[in-house]
Symmetry: C2
Subunit: 164 residues, 2 copies
DNA sequence: CGTAACCTTGACGTACACGTAAAGGAAGGG
DNA sequence: CCCTTCCTTTACGTGTACGTCAAGGTTACG
C-alpha cells in the first residue's frame, strides 16, 4: 500500500505550508479532480504551483476559491463565464495588494479598486433581488401548506361523518 | 396584414374564457414557444386543449405554471426533472379537488394530500437553506466592500502625502 | 382567394459543465 | 526493484435545456 499524502509521514512536519494535491482538494471541496482541472482551463483558478513531477500543489486560498465558485454557481445561478468575470476582478485586488509599494500609478490602482467594488456591489444587488423573490416564494408555499391542512381537516370531518 | 389575436376583434367579446395561443403565452411569460412545447414534452405542462386546426390553447393556470417553473429553475436551481416531481405532486392536488365528491377512497386522497404537503415542506426547507447561505454570502461581500473602501481611503491619503 | 401572420410536427444543432476512458509518468512502502 | 496509489495530458462522450431550420397546415383580413 503506497501512502503518499501527509508527505513523508513523520519526516518533514514543521513548517510545511500545507500544500494540497489535487485529490485532497477534490475531497475537501466535494468537486472532482476533473472539475478542478476544468476550472483551471477556464481561468477560474490560477495555474497552481507544481511539484517537480508536475503534480499540482494547491493552497488553502485555492480551496476557498473553489468553494466560492460553487456557491456562486448553485446559490446565485451564475455561469462559469460570469464567475470568471468576478474572479478576474478579485484577482485585480490581489494585484493591487502585490504592487502596493511598487511604482504602479496610483490612479490606475484606484480605477481597478473601483471596478472591483462595483462588481461586488452588483453581486450584492443580485443577492437582494433573489432574497426578495425567495421570500415571496416561501410565502406562497406557506399558503399552499395552509390549503393542504384545510383540506386534510375537511377529510377528517368527512370520515367522522361517514363513520357516525 | 392578418391580425388574428384578440379573436375576431369586436365580434365575440363577452364570455370568452381568455384562452391563449402559444405565441401569447410565450410573450407573457418570456419563454419561447419552443420551450413551451419542450415543457409539454417533458410532462411539465399538461397537454393543453387544442383549436380544431391543432393550435394549442392555454389557460391562465398554464401561464402561472410556466412562471412557477421558471422561478424554481432560476431561483432555486432545480433541474426540470426535479421540477417535474413537484409539478406531479401538484397535479395530485388538482386530482384530489376533481374527485372531491366522487367515490374515490378517502384514505387514498389523504395519502396524496400528505405527500403533496411533504413535497411543499421540502421546498420550504430548501428555500430556508438557500436563504441562510445567501445571507452569509451577502455578509462576506459586505466585508469585502469595507475592505475596498479602506484601501481606497488609503490611496487618498497616499496621494495627498505625495502632493504635499 | 390570395397572402400574411400564426401555427404544426419533426429533426438536427448548440452551449454549458463536466464525465469517462486511455496511456503513461511519478512517489513511496515493502 | 516492484507494485500500488496518485498523478499527468489528450480526447471523445454525456446530460440538460433548449435553439434553429425545414416543410407544410390554419386563420383571418382585404
Amino acid at each position: 500500500m503506497g501512502h503518499k499524502r501527509q508527505a513523508s509521514a513523520s519526516d518533514t512536519p514543521p513548517p510545511e505550508q500545507a500544500y494540497l494535491q489535487i485529490g485532497e482538494v477534490a475531497d475537501r471541496t466535494g468537486v472532482t479532480q476533473r472539475t478542478l482541472r476544468f476550472y483551471e482551463e477556464k481561468g477560474l483558478l490560477k495555474p497552481p504551483s507544481r511539484l517537480e513531477g508536475g503534480f499540482r500543489l494547491y493552497s488553502e486560498d485555492d480551496v476557498r476559491r473553489v468553494e466560492q465558485i460553487k456557491q456562486l454557481q448553485t446559490l446565485l445561478g451564475f455561469t462559469l463565464a460570469e464567475i470568471k468575470e468576478m474572479v478576474d476582478s478579485h484577482e485585480v485586488r490581489m494585484q493591487v495588494k502585490a504592487s502596493y509599494r511598487k511604482g504602479a500609478e496610483i490612479s490606475e490602482r484606484r480605477a481597478k479598486l473601483l471596478k472591483a467594488k462595483e462588481m461586488t456591489l452588483k453581486q450584492i444587488a443580485v443577492i437582494d433581488q433573489k432574497l426578495a423573490a425567495m421570500h415571496e416564494m416561501k410565502a406562497e408555499l406557506a399558503r399552499k401548506i395552509d390549503q393542504y391542512d384545510a383540506w386534510l381537516q375537511n377529510l377528517e370531518e368527512q370520515s367522522r361523518a361517514g363513520s357516525r
